[in-house]
């Protein structure tokens, strides 16, 4: 051994305990970034308010949404007793708008959940196995990208009839692509990280690697995909209801109400204005909230 080597040999490890800093999960930093984004916080607050109103609907509305109690005041403009006025069938419009929130939000969330259920495994498989599996899944995605989603949704809705369940499935059918692409991208980025190889060297099966390592590391894109799928699903539902193949009356849907509102637009514009604003605000806040989440969780996912 030369002089240099023996000097190396005698170096002792110096490890000290640092008790002052608490262990920090990576999620903690994401939370901090999110808080700093004012638009996201504002949107989140408004969104929470809307969700709250939807949940507490029976408590904050004077009547039910289908009772035609006010036929004598048909088409009345907003007043103290009817905050949003009365619609063309004598129903309190405020009530219908609030219940409409229930429909939109629930369809949005459930459809987004289904989008994740479909998109997550497909994205993980495409990202992990690559090759033929990936090629196949990308071809399927291409098919979905080339057909204009609205037209196809319209066809499907006409085929299957409207109704809550069908709309949710149709919305999920067009929402999974985004989630799949996000997950696939993340999995592909992590696929060749050494900790995956280390796991394989230890004897882990592909399934173990996917579930124990790749999916937990894909939480960010999944959350982002989920939250971004909500406004898309809501708009699809509103669009289909607008065209008459979505949620059927008397169940209130904002899209459906906008359609009716157009007919009365010139004189009784309140029937058009309120569902439009309700839809716009809800979609806007969900989108901004989703963008805020995306920026907080992984700024590299941007555009």
């Amino acid at each position: 051994m030369t002089q240099e080597s023996s000097a190396i040999k005698s170096a002792k490890p110096i490890e000290s305990i640092d008790n002052m800093l608490a262990p920090r999960n990576p999620m903690y930093y994401a939370w901090r970034r999110f808080i700093a984004n004012r638009a996201a916080i504002a949107s989140g607050s408004v969104l929470s308010l809307i969700i709250l109103m939807a949940i507490l609907a029976p408590l904050i509305t004077p009547t039910s949404y289908e009772e035609q109690k006010f036929l004598t005041e048909n088409l009345a403009f907003p007043s103290a007793s009817h905050w949003f006025g009365v619609d063309d069938l004598g129903r309190d419009f405020y009530t219908r708008i609030v219940y409409g929130a229930r429909i939109s939000l629930s369809i949005g969330f459930v459809a987004a959940a289904f989008s994740v259920v479909i998109g997550l495994p497909l994205g993980a498989v495409a990202g992990y196995y690559g090759g033929t599996a990936d090629w196949l899944i990308m071809r399927i995605i291409e098919i979905f990208s080339v057909v204009p989603p609205l037209l196809a949704a319209l066809l499907l809705a006409a085929l299957a009839g409207g109704g809550f369940g069908n709309i949710v499935l149709i919305a999920a059918l067009f929402g999974w692509v985004q989630v799949c692409l996000l997950v696939r991208g993340q999995v592909m980025a992590f696929r060749n990280r050494e900790f995956i190889r280390a796991s394989q060297a230890l004897g882990a099966s592909p399934l173990f690697v996917i579930f124990r390592h790749l999916i937990p590391n894909s939480i960010s894109p999944v959350i982002v995909g989920f939250v971004q799928a909500i406004p898309l699903a809501m708009m699809l539902e509103a669009g289909l209801s607008f065209l008459g193949v979505g949620i059927a009356p008397p169940t209130p849907s904002w899209g459906q109400m906008i359609n009716i509102g157009i007919n009365f637009m010139f004189f009784y514009w309140h029937l058009a204005l309120f569902p439009t604003m309700a839809l716009a605000v809800t979609v806007l806040t969900t989108t901004l909230f989703g963008d805020g989440l995306r920026d907080a969780l992984d700024p590299t996912l941007k555009g």
Binding site: L151, L243, I262, L279
Partner: protein, 311 residues
Amino acid sequence: MIGYVLRRLMSICVTFFVVSVLLFVMMHAIPGGPFDAVEMPLDDAVKAKIMARYGLDQPLYVQYLKYMWGVLHFDFGIPYQSPGETVLELLGRAWIPSLVLGGAGVLIGAPLGIALGLVAALHRNSWVDYVASVISTLGLTVPVFVTSMLLILVFAVWLNWLPASGWGEPKKWILPIVAYAAIPMATYARYTRSAMLDTLNKPFVTVLRAKGLPERKIIFQHVLRNSAIPMVTVFLPMFIGTATGSIFVEAMFRVPGLGAYFVSSIETRDYPLEMALVLMITVMFCLAYFLADIAYALLNPRIRLGGRSSK
């Protein structure tokens, strides 16, 4: 490069044929045919004759093959709702309003968006930037029929400046065009702003400034060209998407365009019209994506000179 082009072409063709089969099957799975309408109850024998005449009594795959053969010859059949003309003629007629309004929307909105993005990037973090941000966010997140509705309410109902519906005179075109322009404008504003900010921060711009090049030249000759790639490649699909008419805008403004005809074709179970519409639009999107891919490959020197695709 040729290899790349051929591969994309094959891929797109396969996609198109798969879509056409799916569509065909879906369309004919809708229960009830076009001649089951209750208002015109037909005698069974008469119905059978009509079905035979339209070829509706044959097995599905035969119908499909016959249909696709026709499509390759640009023969889409005859629409049930107006048997006096071919589907092609009807669509040609119907496309004009969509093309005019949608096309104008994109061709006006895109440059406006670029200008907006440019200004925002150059005056970063000022009130101009903030306003531009808000406008582009709204343009992208607010659904198009909400925008249309608000436009109608404000300009037609309350202010009574512009007419709200119809297609005849140019005055009626203004509101729909504004509605169509929202998304292109917002998209391009975003792209331009972020691409410019990215490029402006790059060291080569500092070098150009040190060389003494006037700011204007730097922006137009260097910065913009570098940022151009994503903007060019997104243009064609966006144009196709808008120029084929939005169902909502056409419904709200009562424009007799492609969107409106599509809705009516579903209601009346007009198979030839439905199929042709979706197929045509699909083909156009396929073409648009294919060309966009090629454009991207051409513009990006890394792919053009690299030889092998990175896929």
